[in-house]
Amino acid sequence: MTAELPLNDIAPGTWKPNRGRSETIQLIIKIICGAFATISILTTIGIIGTLIFEAFSFFGNLPSELSKDSEQVSYMQGVIHFLTAGRWTPLFASKQFGIFVLISATLMITFISILVALPLGLLAAICLSEYASPKIRKVLKPVLEILAGVPTVVYGYFALLTVTPFLKTFFPVEGFNSLSAGIVLGIMITPMVASLSEDAIYSVPQSLRDGAYALGGTKRETVWSVVLPAALSGIVSSLILATSRAIGETMIVTLAAGANPTLGFNPFVPVMTMTAYIVQVTKGDAPHGTIAYQTLYAVGITLFLITLALNIFSFWFVRRFRQKYD
């Protein structure tokens, strides 16, 4: 029996595993990977640290900017002014710092873009994953993804020079307005919604569809009552990601929505979003160290906190509602 086991016959020294060397290589790889991971973490910490630091100095300087001869403004009053004032005029002689003016513009344009992207993107996703023949799907999906590759500045010009004149025939819109910017922004994020939702719908197991068909379900009943609810968490998270993208989008809103900080939700007039304001200031109007310069960071951190909150919500939502199929 033992004679049949060839291993016993092998002369010593045939196998020389290089344990020592592979451990050294392993260690070097570990160090390199660790270094790169640390760099990306440090960069993030650095950016957030700068944001927080400069935002704090903004709030530190805010009271003296707001104080007039007759009355002194406290630190708390400065913060309250920031959150509640109805005007945003840091570059003017009479400075006001009502951030909600910028937030309202951002929210309104984002809302309009979601109104466009949700039905377009979701229906495109359903169509691609459930109704399109493999041939059509093969053509349509890349086309959709090309749409995602169009530079945003092109979208911006499209909004300004094509959509706005078109809207003028129906609505009393001005040359710059949030309706046009919102619609085009919606078109921009549609591929994202469609592509991610399509992934979510596509990953619903075939066994669930079979189960619905075997109960005498029609295609419509199967898709709408079984497949879509099963893909809900993925669809919602795609929507939230697209929303974050819309909130942070800069070029389209700068070009098409104007640079006129206006409080309110009138989609026909020029407004100024948070991102558009950041563009305006960084283009060089504000000297380093002034309060106008520091507003950049105050706006930046507000923007950051909004998208962070959305991402956390999306993370929580997906974990809460995700279905596990083995």
């Binding site: 569809r209 619905a212 075997a214 109960l215 379900g217």
Partner: protein
């Protein structure tokens, strides 16, 4: 005359006449003739790839959902060719339970109510849910958590939920595609007991890899085998179909004898 017709109608629930199934240009199953008697349990046994599940899926036209599949031959359901049925209507009357439990990601209640609702059930939904769950011997285990997700149940409970879901729409035939292959022995036993009870009301066709299961639960057994084709694939065919007792104790074919005695497969 009327009597004779009723007689034949009650005797045979499903009749397969020379069924062949193709996937693309590949012949997967060839020339199956089979009568499924009413209110009996018929088991399909055979080695992997012999086309048992494929034939089963012909009975409720699930193969229609696979774009490349083509079914030749005729299947009569209550004496009428199933090609003349609307597949949606056929599937309501010929229910199916799958190999892997596939409850919908909805509440236990909604899992049952879904099929009833899409088929236009007008009666008392609560009562139907209770009756179906009792029919699948699951009621006592879930009656206090009907609003919880069906995915929270154990594998065996999920499979009984799927059976409850299938019987909720009051089919005449239930097709079971290896319903116990993902279950532990105790859950398997429960499902088998359930099949005995369901036999009073329904005709059951079960595909199984487990020969003991076939001999325990079924009245008739069909043995399928696969033969190698010239193209290098496998083609399934029906070897022998008889009373279960005959198949397991005194089959006509050599292949069947070898298979049921565990010599291959």
């Amino acid at each position: 005359m009327q009597d004779i017709r009723n007689q034949t109608m009650t005797d045979t629930a499903l009749k397969a006449e020379k069924i062949s199934v193709y996937y693309g240009s590949t012949l997967a199953v060839k020339d199956v003739f089979l009568d499924i008697p009413r209110n009996q349990i018929v088991a399909f046994i055979g080695p992997s790839g012999c086309g048992k599940s494929t034939v089963l899926r012909c009975f409720n036209r699930m193969n229609d959902l696979i774009p490349s599949a083509r079914v030749d031959g005729n299947i009569l359901f209550d004496g009428e060719n199933i090609k003349r049925f609307d597949p949606v209507e056929l599937r309501r009357r010929v229910g199916m339970v799958f190999q892997k439990p596939n409850p919908f990601p909805k509440s236990i209640y909604e899992n049952i109510a879904f099929g009833a609702r899409i088929n236009g059930y007008q009666g008392d939904m609560d009562e139907l849910v209770e009756r179906s769950l009792k029919g699948a011997a699951l009621w006592d285990e879930v009656k206090d958590k009907l609003k919880e997700s069906g995915l929270g149940l154990s594998g065996g409970q999920q499979q009984r939920l799927c059976i409850a879901r299938a019987i909720a729409i009051e089919p005449e035939v239930i097709l079971m595609d290896e319903p116990c292959s993902a279950l532990d022995p105790i859950s398997t036993l429960k499902v088998e007991e359930l099949m005995h009870d369901l036999k009073m009301q329904y005709t059951i066709v079960i595909v199984t890899h487990n020969m003991q299961q076939a001999s325990r639960v079924s009245d008739k057994t069909a043995f399928f085998n696969a033969q190698a084709t010239e193209a290098g694939g496998k083609m399934g065919y029906l070897v022998e179909y008889d009373e279960t007792q005959v198949i397991f104790s005194n089959p006509r074919e050599e292949y069947t004898r070898d298979y049921v005695s565990g010599r291959f497969g």
